[in-house]
Symmetry: C5
Amino acid sequence: MSKRKHRPKRENLLTSPGTLTYIGPDNELKTKIRKIQYSEKFYKNEAVTSLAECAANPSLEPHITWLDVDGIHETALVGKIGTLYHLHPLILEDIVNTEHKPKLEVYDTGYIFLTLKMLHVDSEEPLEISSEHVSFVTGKDYLISFQEERSDDIFNPVIERLNASVGKTRRNGTDYLVFALMDVIVDNYFLVLEKFGEKLDLVEESIISGSKRESLNDLYALKRELTFVRRAIWPLRDMINQLIREDNSLISKEVVPYYRDLYDHTMQALDTVDSYRELLASLADVHLSTISNRMNAVMKTLTIFSAIFMPLTFIVGVYGMNFENMPELKNPYGYYYTWGVMAIVTVGMILYFKAKKWM
Amino acid sequence: MSKRKHRPKRENLLTSPGTLTYIGPDNELKTKIRKIQYSEKFYKNEAVTSLAECAANPSLEPHITWLDVDGIHETALVGKIGTLYHLHPLILEDIVNTEHKPKLEVYDTGYIFLTLKMLHVDSEEPLEISSEHVSFVTGKDYLISFQEERSDDIFNPVIERLNASVGKTRRNGTDYLVFALMDVIVDNYFLVLEKFGEKLDLVEESIISGSKRESLNDLYALKRELTFVRRAIWPLRDMINQLIREDNSLISKEVVPYYRDLYDHTMQALDTVDSYRELLASLADVHLSTISNRMNAVMKTLTIFSAIFMPLTFIVGVYGMNFENMPELKNPYGYYYTWGVMAIVTVGMILYFKAKKWM
Amino acid sequence: MSKRKHRPKRENLLTSPGTLTYIGPDNELKTKIRKIQYSEKFYKNEAVTSLAECAANPSLEPHITWLDVDGIHETALVGKIGTLYHLHPLILEDIVNTEHKPKLEVYDTGYIFLTLKMLHVDSEEPLEISSEHVSFVTGKDYLISFQEERSDDIFNPVIERLNASVGKTRRNGTDYLVFALMDVIVDNYFLVLEKFGEKLDLVEESIISGSKRESLNDLYALKRELTFVRRAIWPLRDMINQLIREDNSLISKEVVPYYRDLYDHTMQALDTVDSYRELLASLADVHLSTISNRMNAVMKTLTIFSAIFMPLTFIVGVYGMNFENMPELKNPYGYYYTWGVMAIVTVGMILYFKAKKWM
Amino acid sequence: MSKRKHRPKRENLLTSPGTLTYIGPDNELKTKIRKIQYSEKFYKNEAVTSLAECAANPSLEPHITWLDVDGIHETALVGKIGTLYHLHPLILEDIVNTEHKPKLEVYDTGYIFLTLKMLHVDSEEPLEISSEHVSFVTGKDYLISFQEERSDDIFNPVIERLNASVGKTRRNGTDYLVFALMDVIVDNYFLVLEKFGEKLDLVEESIISGSKRESLNDLYALKRELTFVRRAIWPLRDMINQLIREDNSLISKEVVPYYRDLYDHTMQALDTVDSYRELLASLADVHLSTISNRMNAVMKTLTIFSAIFMPLTFIVGVYGMNFENMPELKNPYGYYYTWGVMAIVTVGMILYFKAKKWM
Amino acid sequence: MSKRKHRPKRENLLTSPGTLTYIGPDNELKTKIRKIQYSEKFYKNEAVTSLAECAANPSLEPHITWLDVDGIHETALVGKIGTLYHLHPLILEDIVNTEHKPKLEVYDTGYIFLTLKMLHVDSEEPLEISSEHVSFVTGKDYLISFQEERSDDIFNPVIERLNASVGKTRRNGTDYLVFALMDVIVDNYFLVLEKFGEKLDLVEESIISGSKRESLNDLYALKRELTFVRRAIWPLRDMINQLIREDNSLISKEVVPYYRDLYDHTMQALDTVDSYRELLASLADVHLSTISNRMNAVMKTLTIFSAIFMPLTFIVGVYGMNFENMPELKNPYGYYYTWGVMAIVTVGMILYFKAKKWM
């Protein structure tokens, strides 16, 4: 069984609001920052080594700056980037709080703050799914993405597309870039759900065939993982909806259909989650019924054995009595007659249980 | 049990949005395209062999062009038709994504996009229902319908009516044509639900009579098929509602009552689905209670046998002891007395269990 | 168990919308039509024999014409009446579709269409409830009521009141007449629910006393009938609400309180249905618990018998052994001592089970 | 178990709407009417003996008239009071219909009609709760209260406060008087819920200790009483809300906070009801689990007895065989060896079951 | 099991509304009042000894007065403070009613009334959580906080921050002070939930390993505590939402983001509560299934023993019969053959049960 811990994680309790406290897994890796600058005409991707390089470059022609911060455990660094881009302290608190649930906030000062969950399959047997806390802050011409430090970078497909050709991403603004990054995350949900579906197929087979004993605990572990997945995906629904409806100048009209498409995909993922939930519930019912049926079979076996051998044992007991006057004992065929009677009793019992469909 | 797979199907994951990827069953049949042109005055139905023929014919007098595309696995072809009619790439993605759930989208550029599910009974024993992905794109004077390639064409009744006479369909616009095609699909739901109802009658009978063992798995398979059907029908409710309410110029006021009628039929289908669901739940309860009752009967049988034969075996055991001084053994009638005692015990037990209503 | 069929009934599938198809029970009786004309000053009730007589009589002073059509299986006749009063073909379809659920439609052309369900208790043991499809079309000065042909006419109380005296019905318009007819139907629901309540009392008693075996199937049958009743009554709630709120000229302000009263009664009927539902669920729980308790009792009996007789049988078995050297066998009181030991064992066991409260 | 009847009570079915029919318990007591007149300056409380005295007294200085009608079984009298104060016939119907659920109606003609339920604990063992139908009709300067005739008058505390001093009630209008009377009724709910809580404590204790057999039926009876209580209180929530929001001239702004307080108390009562419901559900689960545990214990006892005595009985059976050549029988210590083997088997079994934690 | 009492607590029933009645635990401690005055420039914290000192000090430069009343059992004192600050009597009633659920009320007269619950872990084994009733009344330049007298003061962290430096709290108005105090309370919820999570881990482990018998009662007790916690936290959601949305002049725009953050934390706490609820439900299922599995194991053991020893006992019974003519008895190897047959039967049975996977 997966060892999901049952404890709310909030370490900055009782400190002044806005204090940055990282509560995710310990992480030795150093924060990596990449700065990608592009417009339809040019594209530049460089690793950032000093805080000064993090700032946008106003001297260039109009372009988009994407700052990809890989690692949020160095809260001091996050704080400095926040200061550089004039972000509200409470946003910074949410960026480093890996337990914060997905949310969207539109700030009057012209930027949008988004936080969501990337899902990873940590282990397949038993199935364990973990989430990575990803945040975006986006203005008219910049996007800062924050993610927990992991070995594989989830945004590589988008970077490759940016690099490869002057496609839709290069032609559009930060609104399309945000969409592209969220799309990668949502597409990833389907990969996770596929793993889940494979596992579910195995459990279903084992439950219906009744071959494995620990099935219910497996079901229970799967249910918890599924609840975890659902909690990660569910808030996206409202967030995207809000992005589409929100009367803001940051999402242009041409990009709205892409967000609507993203919404559809999110709904499809949630639908899959819900159908898995129903399936798990059905499987639990089947499991319980299988247990009952098996108990029934055990009881029938016991009853059949008892009903056949109790009368026989009684009969042989009768002729084991030591009464002086028991005429049957002297009959030379008494022993054989007794066997005959016992054969009749046995056959009768078997016929009776066959009639009752217990055999 | 039906082998519905538990996996979300989306193959174009991590590709650029708008990439066309067909994920339905493999299909060797070539795409068939029919072009039907009609107005109140004329009617023309021809098989289309080249892409050029797919375009509407503006030189004719005002008429309606219905392009019926039978087969969506050739995504390149779908893409070309999309280009010909200036459809948004995301629409094309939804047309070929056979797992996309039913939805309606009204585009500012003057066309409506609709996608829904045709249901087919693939197998009756066990009951297996599959869905066919059907899409409509309709403007003022054209309708393009996309369906998966199947041997039987579901729109034949409408084509026959168009051909047969100058009826309501010929006199009205594309709004009525869309209604007529959707009506065929919704009517078909009732045929599928009828098969379902027949199957349900059988399962109900078998459960109430308690004759079949694998009833619960049957119930569970039916429940899954029903959930599948429900997911296919459910979104129609909102779609038709939106079509009626939507303040669009594409649905004329005269045709609205027909859509309202279609809405009623959809609700009736959903009501039937819901009553089947309740029935399945009730049957599962009856099934569980039947198992319990049967276990009870088994236990009673065992208890009655034990309670009768244990005392008898004890009695004959007593007189099987080898004590030198056991006066009863010397009594010439001891053996017969013993039988008498055993008869009394047996009758007493039977009366006791009769009184307890266990026999 | 009541033989409610699990099949959606719609026979005009795949025909052109607006085709009239009767799907109710076969009915040999000929359609009977009565025409009642009244105002505060006069009252006339005549059987109609020709279609021409069905039309309103404009030459008379202002009055209300109520056409009561008893029998909807002659769809041709219904169609002709529809033509006479200029009714929309889809309304006629709903009038003859006995499976259509209750609904209200207000037409711009100045008439209201209402369809609802009259409930009948067909059989009391087992309880079987059937519904009769009743429709009203009402304009400013006419009302056409359609009902399935049955031996007893449900509207008699209203006709009698109309005839008897110049009461509220005679003084008011068609809005009050519609109310009066609906009131009769809703009052009838209470009569049906009363029969249901009586049956429920019997089943409750039998379950709590645990006397009858087939109780769960009874519960299940009752639940299905109740669901049937609920489906018939539920839509009335919205319909009446809509009639009250709808800003239409057909319901006058003076009559609104009566509709509000009708609404209260409908809610009271639904409340009763819901409390019956809860009761049925509770009874199912009690039933299951009773089964468990009884199984418990059976098991205890078995265990007590086994625990008493197994040791005894063992003891007598010991002295049935044929060892040459068994000192007890030679003891002249050995047999009696053995009985003593067995008595002690038996009493000990009984005390043990008394202490455990199993006896 | 409480004998709550499962039947909707409406006796005036199929009569003309507005007919007054009393359906409460038979009641021999004569209707008692009190007329209380008060303003800040004076207070007068007199028993009314004739209908004429019921009318308000316009000759007096501005004051409030409260007519307290104790007994609604004399429907003729209620009808006459209705005529005197120009009440709508449907209101009178609701006043005498003791089964009508709580509701509020604001009439254009300047009066408010309120009906609610006073709860009484009829019996404590088993707990039986009955409701008394209380109605208020209130205008600017009069209030008529109707209640079923009971031995104790529920409004005494208010009358005493009116009499005792020139408090808030004397200084305010009928809006405050209505509040004060409703407050008495809501306060009374807490007294009833307290009795319920005491009973619940007892049942909880008996279920957790597992001492009483009939616990489930007790739970079931309590659940029904609780549902009854909930139905009585629930509609108050909306009623008070409506009184606060309703833009009417009858509730003055100063009195609104008191109604808001009343609303809070009603919510608190409903919260208590809901927590009792959850508790009952939990107790039912505990009860079922207790039954299962007990069955488990019974089965273990049986299995332990069987597993110990079956091998022993087999062993003694072996040496009860009569083969001529059985060397052990001739061994002078054979008998004692046999006892040794049996002791080892017994101890082995006991250790085995101890290891399995069955003993 | 925790002894949460099932009784609504309201002692001022049937008294005039606005009467102050303390219903919390008896409390010998005297009410302690602290008066804290601060602005950005100065800070003063003094114990209040007379009622006169409670009033704000208008002669000072503009500053904020926070009156922290520790102990609400002296209702007379609460009443006097209420008079001093012109509070509505119903507010005072809610301040001393420790059972009142959290609520927010905005008064026209320019102050806000807030009441919420502080949670305390009273005992860890079994887990017992109690709530402390905390209320705030806040105007433009004063805040009065009321809490039950406890040994530890929950607001100390805020007082320390006020004292320590000129931070956000000192620079902002009463709106930020209210936020800071509520934040302390919400942060505390996480500490309580953490204790809960630890306990849950223990119970989960004990249920999955199946080691403890009383697990279900533990589950049930935890569920009740959790429900208690949920009731305390749930209303906060609406309260904070209302504070944010409410178009009032008391919450300044700069402070709104902090309230939004508080809202997020409240939601996170509620999410944790809900996930614990689901977990408890799953554990109850696992528990029930464990019981069933164990019963199954017991039954199998019994059946295996019976099926092996019943035939053996029968066989030895056969040769214990005393027929004169039993050829086998004279066979010198008969005894050994019999053992051979019994060995075969035993091995056959064992193979049979192995094949059935019962062993």
